[in-house]
Amino acid sequence: MKAIQTERFAAMGTRAELHLFGPGDRDALLSARRAIEAVDDALTIHRPSATTMINECLMAGLSCVVDDPVLLDALIEIEAAHALTRGLFDPAADIARPGVGWGVISFDRDAARIQASRRVALDLGGFGKGFALDRACRVLKEAGATSAFLCAGESSIAVVGEHPLGGGWPVAIPHPLHPDRFLAEFELRDEALSISATVGAGANAPERAAMIRPTDASHVTAPRCTVAIDRSGARAEAMSTALLVADDDQAGRLLDGDPARRFVFDFSHETTMPVQPGEMALQ
């Protein structure tokens, strides 16, 4: 039997678990944890951080240098994800400021400088989970790990290599309206998976922020669940979020980019369910 090591802790506003199978020592697992905590420290807006510092600048209409390397890397990925999702993933969207989002921000990655033409603040929480898992996976791989399962909350996972018993990691998405059934099943190899939903357990929790559309800052109310699988956890997070806020046409264009790894389940058509993911998308 292969050795199993686990690290369980609170980070990114959720519970994180790292399971390492086979090669890889305790120090590697702890380093992976530190990588996630470092992302938390840099991206959180719930206590003083590099992100709250630049938010203060952006809200004051000032230009500022991003001197935190973790935040700088995150902003580079966010800029790419914003483009990849055709502007639908937008961590600067704000329900209090319709029309304000990443588009008002000028980010110079080479000079590590950011500024905005209008008052704006970043909320990198959801994106941060996938971004943190990417960095933790990198740490484990560099330490020689060949099989690991990482989770930052139950909606963001990443796997290193293959399942300890061989083959891909089999994961199943429970049906958010019928928890005794699975909505879809996938096999993952060196990939990350992100789920976003407007329905299901916890969706109506009082403290949960509503998902909003960056186009008009309106709430997403459609009963939807989206799944994105990607080599990058950061991209998976951005894509599942974008799919959730997209209208049908926008979602269709995003799904065309990788139909085998991006899914939208619309529960407005509950009577037809369950069906296979490929058939479900955008009914």
Binding site: C151, E154, P174, F182, A197
Partner: protein
């Protein structure tokens, strides 16, 4: 740092707690402890202390003073004969004894006095000692009023004499280790401290025929004590200020005589919120009819908690994800099946019951060390740095809490305190 890092010796204390502290900001956070621990007291030429008050607390102090390497009890004083007799039993027969502190001061032969009398006597005895050219070690709380606390500080400054107040936790290795770990960021930013001192007894002592209730039970009466606030809370308010590295901006509270309706004048049940900058809080309760939760400060940060009286540090460890627990068990049994992802994320927010990690314990005596530190301060004429400010602010906080409860309204931190 674990249990084995602590032992009886001063050397181990230095190495184990204070030796590696510079990087963690301890030099600024506990300079008094560093000064005290690094003192090199000589065997002879001991600092001569006159102890005023030889009741239970005074005798405990005498037992600690005789263990020090640099202090000696050179006189004792108490105006209650049975207490004085018990004090005499702890010192040599040649030690002079007095029933009036002024007589002891007039007799001379002292370098400093130690005051362990009822609270309302502290200020007068301290000022008299300074006027007699002596240094002062005084039990906490400092005085019955904020004005008297300030007068004690001011007189020590005017006379250039040391004033040290008995807050032994500031020398306690477990507390110092807890502070080191807070400074190192191990529990994240501290946003709340829950402190409590709960007992289940009346606090009333039997009155012997040769005495009277107000003399024996002085803690129960307003003119001589603020009750729980000055006799117990002062210690924990000092810990709050110390670990939050600030003084409160304001305090709100509620006090009542809730259980022991026996003619006492001070509250037997207090609940207060001390508000600090940035929204941080110290939530304080003390009562005299339930001892379940005893005495503790729960120092709470985003990454963990520290409970120094228990000597333990706890990480914020969330409950296991059941699906992943099952996945581990499947792998152990050689089974492979789908891992449910994205199910319910809500989990009951019950108290975390993990055992935590030890902060380390030592048999080293913090009360003894604070007297050795005082002895060195008297010799040099220089107070241990930072110590008096902590004590002064703790006493002000305790008395401010009393005011907030009496008035039933928020009370702000005084703007006219003496600069320490």
């Amino acid at each position: 740092m674990t249990d084995k890092d602590f032992d009886l010796s001063r050397r181990a204390f230095l190495d184990g707690v204070l030796g590696a502290t510079a990087a963690a900001g301890m030099t600024a956070a506990a300079p008094w402890a560093i000064s005290a621990a690094q003192a090199q007291p000589a065997g002879s030429d001991r600092v001569r202390l006159g102890v005023i008050g030889t009741g239970d607390r005074g005798r405990t102090l005498i037992r600690n003073i005789v263990k020090t390497r640099n202090c000696i009890v050179a006189a004792i004083c108490d105006n209650y004969a049975p207490h004085l007799a018990k004090g005499k039993a702890l010192v040599s027969a040649a030690t002079p004894s007095f029933t009036d502190h002024r007589a002891m001061l007039d007799a001379g032969g002292l370098d400093a006095v130690v005051i362990a009398t009822p609270l309302h006597g502290h200020a007068r005895q301290t000022l008299d000692a300074f006027d007699a050219g002596l240094h002062v070690w005084c039990e906490k709380a400092m005085a019955r009023t904020i004005a008297d606390c300030g007068a004690m500080v001011k007189r020590s400054q005017d006379r250039r004499k040391v004033l040290q107040i008995g807050h032994q936790r500031m020398f306690h290795p477990t507390y110092l280790n807890a502070l080191r770990r807070v400074k190192a960021g191990e529990i994240g930013p501290v946003t709340q401290i829950r402190a409590s001192w709960h007992r289940n007894n009346s606090w009333r002592r039997p009155v012997p025929p040769d005495s009277n209730d107000r003399q024996i039970n002085w803690r129960l009466y307003r003119d001589s004590s603020a009750g729980l606030m000055t006799e117990l809370a002062t210690h924990q308010l000092q810990i709050g200020n110390w670990f939050l590295d600030a003084v409160p901006a304001r305090v709100i509270g509620s006090g009542s005589i809730c259980f022991w309706k026996d003619g006492r004048e001070v509250y037997d049940h207090v609940a207060l919120v001390f508000e600090y900058s940035g929204g941080r809080k110290l939530v304080y309760t003390s009562l005299l009819n339930n001892a379940r939760y005893g005495c503790e400060e729960q120092i709470q940060g985003s990454k963990g908690s520290i409970e120094p009286e228990l000597g333990r540090i706890y990480q914020e460890v969330p409950p296991k994800v059941l699906a992943l627990q099952r996945m581990r068990e499947d792998v152990k049994r050689g089974h492979k099946r789908a891992i449910p992802i994205g199910g319910a994320t809500w989990f009951p927010e019950l108290p975390v019951t993990t055992p935590g990690e030890s902060l380390g314990w030592g048999e080293y005596d913090e009360t003894m060390l604070q007297f050795e530190g005082f002895g060195e301060a008297v010799r040099s004429g220089k107070p241990l740095p930072g110590l008096l400010a902590q004590a002064y602010h703790a006493s002000v906080a305790s008395l401010l809490g009393e005011q907030a409860m009496d008035r039933g309204e928020a009370v702000t931190w005084p703007a006219d305190l003496v600069t320490v």
